[in-house]
Symmetry: C2
Subunit: 293 residues, 2 copies
């Protein structure tokens, strides 16, 4: 049996190989290809693909069944970062300590690289030879719903409109449920679809994903207040500069830490009710919720 | 039997209803939704959806089977126009006589509206209750290939990189084969997939689509030289301002007109070899190739 560390390292690498091979195989315009690979290789913990694969493993199925789905999920996440960093959006020059895509390749190519990655993500799923047509259709339904106007893109829009005014806690949760929660949820549920989990199990996993989604965002907000810019690889204090509502601003720092602990507990409790080997999912929960502060 | 005029009017309306209903049903952020609908309703001849439906009708199948696919195709086309018009790309203030999306809703929302429309297009196909899972997978494979880095997005990238230098005729064709041809081709072939056309027929239809794709672009280039700005609803002479290579620039105006006639003939010849009722496909070919000049 793998340790959690081995799980992380091995499947992070598999996901990264799968992504790069898929882009290189398209044999498209060179600058566009380089730009896509640049952002895919910009690092990160690959939490979304690892959630896909940890869920499949929890049901005792072969993780290989989820490689292309895991890679597709990371491509969608990456496209959203490229577009969010654009001058017209968050206008960020750095991400994870590297120049953002548009700073290196220019805005036009960055927009197109994002478009191409989103399109490629759907192609990754339909071209997966290990899955049935029905499973592919279910996965694309899930991806499109969670990544689109009612999910991630809608959340980003609401986030932009919410700048410069104070949001209520429920408004804040509604934004983050879509902006970051939707994709984390789609990661867990796509693993469940591939593993053939029951509808009852999927409901519990959705609850688990809901709580880790909020925990993830609270953690991000706390780090933005107290984190170390070098460790984050981007500027901190950005939220208060933009007068964005955050959990610490609404709940105080202590209140935010307490909410984080509560959501982490609720996530773990949900997992505890399922008849699965949740080892790696629990490990990822801690990774999401317990960071350096 | 419908006349070609009736065909155009009826199915244009059906496509537009289908698109609008799909967006309104998502119940997403209001500004984002308005922005998506604004560009979907900005008009145009709806050539791509009409190609989908004309192909299905040519095989004697029910056009209703193609409504969501036709709408999805127009959504992909519309997203590409929104992103192409952005200041970082072609920087256009007007399209079809109306302000472009970012001029009305701002750049951030325009980028997100494009992202959401692309995502929605895939959702339209998987959520279509009239198609089998296998057909849906084939359609998404076709869409993703033709709209992505190797198709439309790659063509737009090559088009940007090709500005300010003289291209050869084969470079110019390679750009347009991807930038506009790929989506026209995907329209015809998605109709063929839904209608259950044979592999041999699909090859002929691909040839047909190839020639109408080139005819379409030559026509656009000619209109840019001699067209009337008011009739086009956008500024003309834009290509020569950007020092873009065009068919008239490479072949002379007369040469471009001759090439247009040749590609139109080759498209019609291809159709003539198939055992189908090509009436509406021939009508669309004339619509694409014979415009006011």
């Amino acid at each position: 049996m793998m340790t959690f560390e081995q799980f992380m390292q091995h499947y992070k690498q598999e996901t990264e190989n799968c992504m790069k091979n898929a882009i290189v195989a398209t044999n498209s315009d060179q600058k566009l290809e380089q730009s896509m690979i640049y952002s895919l290789e910009a690092g990160g913990k690959r939490i979304r693909p690892l959630l896909v694969l940890a869920t499949i493993i929890a049901y005792g199925r072969e993780p290989e069944l989820g490689y292309q789905t895991a890679a597709a999920m990371e491509m969608i996440h990456t496209y959203s970062l490229i577009h969010d960093d654009l001058p017209a959006m968050d206008n960020d020059d750095y991400r994870r300590g590297k120049l953002t895509n548009h700073k290196v390749y220019g805005e036009a190519t960055a927009i197109l690289a994002g478009d191409a990655l989103l399109t490629k993500a759907f192609e990754m799923i339909v071209s997966d030879v290990t899955l049935t047509a029905t499973i592919k259709v279910d996965l694309i339904q899930l991806f499109a719903k969670n990544a689109g106007a009612n999910g991630m893109v809608g959340g980003q829009q609401a986030d932009i409109l919410g700048e410069n005014r104070t949001l209520s806690l429920s408004e804040l949760e509604s934004i983050h449920r879509r902006k970051t929660g939707a994709l984390l949820s789609a990661s867990v549920l796509s693993g469940a679809i591939i593993a053939g989990a029951s509808e009852d199990d999927k409901k519990v996993l959705e609850k688990f994903a809901h709580h880790i989604g909020i925990a993830f965002q609270i953690c991000d907000d706390i780090l933005d207040v107290i984190g170390d810019a070098q460790k984050m690889g981007k500027k901190t204090g950005a939220d208060s500069e933009l007068q964005k509502s955050t959990y610490p601003a609404l709940l105080s720092l202590e209140g935010a830490k307490q909410a984080l602990a509560e959501h982490t507990d609720l996530a773990k409790q949900a997992l505890g009710t399922l008849d699965i080997d949740a080892t790696f999912l629990l490990g990822l929960t801690d990774l999401i919720a317990v960071r350096d502060f």
